[in-house]
Amino acid sequence: MHDHSETDGDMDDMTARVLALETVLVEKGLIDPKAVEAIIETYEHKVGPRNGAAVVARAWCDEDFAELLERDATAAIASMGFVGRQGEHMVAVFNSSVEHNIVVCTLCSCYPWPVLGLPPSWYKSPAYRARAVREPRSVLEEFGIALPKETRIRVWDSTAEIRYLVIPERPTGTEGMSEAQLSDLVTRDSMIGCGFARSPGPA
């Protein structure tokens, strides 16, 4: 909904608006600017979709891990050190040649932060939230993805505190690749269900 090219004026307004609020909160001792910085630093540089990519790559390589991920995703993901806010109750859903999973939060912007970081703008947009549950195929087309007509689609609307991580299919031609190499093939969008993992080879 927010067209950034046209809203530079708005953004200045927003800058002033949040600055005023932050200033008052700091003056009252209600927030510590260093804590604010630490939060920003965490989600700008530390917690992001490479966490989820590592989970996916391990699931591709380690059957026991994949089994635990299916049975208790919170524990499996915690075993790799990814825990916390907006990931307290994790469920992993596995794509296959017959079923494709997509995650949405129609009511707000629920998203598995410890494994994917902050949600992209489109995930929070009314357009995605409205259409993912009704016409996911046409949404996928806007991501350049065409699913076979007969593939079943299951959409997970995150209406509670359960957070969903899509495990995309392992691309063909990746035999013998390391977990680290494999994780490079795992895109953020593929872990929401709006893409596939990349095929190996020249990008």
């Binding site: 609020l21 200033t23 001792g29 927030i31 604010v36 920003i40 129609t106 902050l118 409205a130």
Partner: protein, 218 residues
């Protein structure tokens, strides 16, 4: 509430615009909104459900005209005002006129990692579940003016229970500070034709996570 947040299945919002995954923020003010919103939550004046209710209670013209960080900021302003922490005049002048009420709960920089890593699990001990995996259930026609997490498109519809998650804090009461009242939480899966009518995609099913009070046996 049948508010602006309840967009599942609605028309007219246009296309979805993909975004490079390396992009974290579109402007510096978005970072501040993120940081201030999370830091201010530590004051304990509200909970996650109350903050969602504050966001969806924004007027539809504002909700649909705003980016999500703007929605967060506007809701935060309202929450802090209702908590008696920051008045409208203080916001407009940018100068504090009274002391903070809960400065002793201010989140320190040292504590950030621990707070973010701990999160806030919503699972609680609770009653035995009334439904089992595989049961057919029907969502009730619940249309409260307050907060609820049963989306409009899945109201009064029949689906199958596909998972049970134990008991979780009930947002309909928690959002209005009427208690956690934990109750069994299920995943309920619907065929798209049940939700959107006979012209819907026959290969599509949609699940929601639904608390027991949203459901009756079908």
């Amino acid at each position: 509430m049948n508010g602006p947040q309840d967009v599942g299945g609605r028309h007219g919002f246009g296309t979805v615009v993909p975004e490079d995954e390396s992009l974290r923020f579109h402007a510096d003010w978005e970072k501040r909104v993120l940081g201030v919103t999370i830091a201010a939550a530590s004051l304990g004046h509200w909970n996650l459900d109350a903050s969602r209710f504050a966001r969806e209670s924004l007027p539809p013209a504002i909700y649909y005209g705003a980016s999500y960080y703007e929605i967060w900021l506007r809701a935060l302003e309202g929450l802090l005002e209702r908590a008696g922490e920051v008045s409208k005049r203080e916001r407009s002048t940018g100068r504090a006129e009274t002391r903070g009420l809960r400065a002793e709960r201010c989140l320190s920089a040292d504590a950030v990692d621990a707070v973010l890593s701990k999160g806030s699990p919503s699972s609680r001990p609770g009653a035995d579940p009334k439904f089992s995996i595989g049961d057919m259930v029907r969502t009730l026609n619940l249309q409260p003016s307050g907060h609820t997490r049963l989306p409009g498109y899945a109201r009064a519809r029949t689906g199958r229970v596909t998972a049970y998650h134990g008991s979780h804090v009930f947002p309909d009461t928690h959002s209005s500070f009427d208690g956690e009242k934990p109750c069994p939480l299920y995943t309920v899966c619907f065929e798209a034709v049940e939700l959107f009518g006979e012209t819907a995609d026959p290969t599509l099913s949609v699940s929601i996570d639904a608390w027991e009070p949203y459901l009756e046996r079908a």
